[in-house]
Symmetry: C2
Subunit: 180 residues, 2 copies
């Protein structure tokens, strides 16, 4: 299964940190890449920097961050387009249908999303119907659709890795990049 | 099961939006309340405003947002203290143990967390060992420990509620507040 994320309505000043969390969550929970409709060099650099150190090749695909024209993307994407919104239908009711597809675009908006997005998406899906966070919604969506991939994911080209521990922090350096 | 969230290291300017997402996720995913170690009136107001409109009484407890002294809280809390960190042990390995408890404090830090927190917590638990987001981590933690409460939660004192729909947005006004 290939899942791509489309982050809509990013405002570089205001959304810098939330959008960073959205992108990192996409990577850590097994998405193949994330598209922004706005170029934000600093944000892209910081995500690419994480990819360099922690890896981007998860064995199924190589995580990327790119810009796109969102309307063209929504019109031309050759897979299932799912808009995450608190107004949508509960994920549990649609999960079976979602899992039939091999290629998915998940759309997560910042504050307000053009109403066109509701129409251009194949499904409008909610992770609960309360106001919360696109980061939380994306995490639960990817967790369900990719079967808890966040607990199993392994980046083949990582230079560093965590060794889980009861107290404190343990990092392992890997030999993936002899030229460094 | 009562779960409280402790948000550590909030910096009002820098963390305003992420901390808002943490607090909204806590509420929407069934936590009973959230403590901050820093007072941030604007943030507290915006969360209390959500509670007024969308409700705070989830049938088990009334969601609150408060300040506290984090060190005293960690020393005196009479339940299980769990620090969410990418360096900790996988949630899946500890879930059985966690679920034995009736009262839990979940600690989620901003950027850097004092090493004391790792020591004062009963468990250091990871939602995957990749860098991502405390919002995503909190969402998955609450989802697992409260058995998908985010899909079932119902606020008894809500004035508005979403009616899930395939396309667009539907809001229902409720009769909870005749004085308004």
């Amino acid at each position: 299964m290939e899942i791509y994320v489309l982050r809509l309505g990013h405002r570089p000043k205001r959304d810098k940190r939330i959008s960073t969390h959205v992108a990192l969550t996409a990577r850590a929970f097994g998405a193949c890449g994330i598209y922004f409709d706005v170029n934000d060099e600093k944000l892209f650099e910081s995500i690419n920097d994480v990819c360099k150190r922690w890896g981007k090749n998860n064995g199924r695909c190589e995580f990327f961050i790119k810009t796109c024209n969102w309307r063209n993307m929504l019109k031309n994407f050759d897979g299932l387009k799912i808009h995450l919104t608190m107004y949508g239908m509960p994920l549990n009711e649609k999960l079976y249908e979602v899992k039939k597809h091999k290629k998915i675009l998940v759309i997560v908006g910042a504050e307000k999303v053009p109403s066109e997005v509701y129409q251009l998406s194949d499904l409008n899906i909610s992770i609960g119907n309360q106001p919360h966070s696109e980061v939380a919604a994306l995490a639960i969506f990817l967790d369900r659709v990719l079967d808890e991939e966040e607990f199993k994911i392994n980046f083949l080209d990582a230079k560093i890795q965590v060794k889980p521990t009861e107290k404190g922090k343990k990092l392992i350096k890997l030999q993936n990049s002899p030229q460094d």
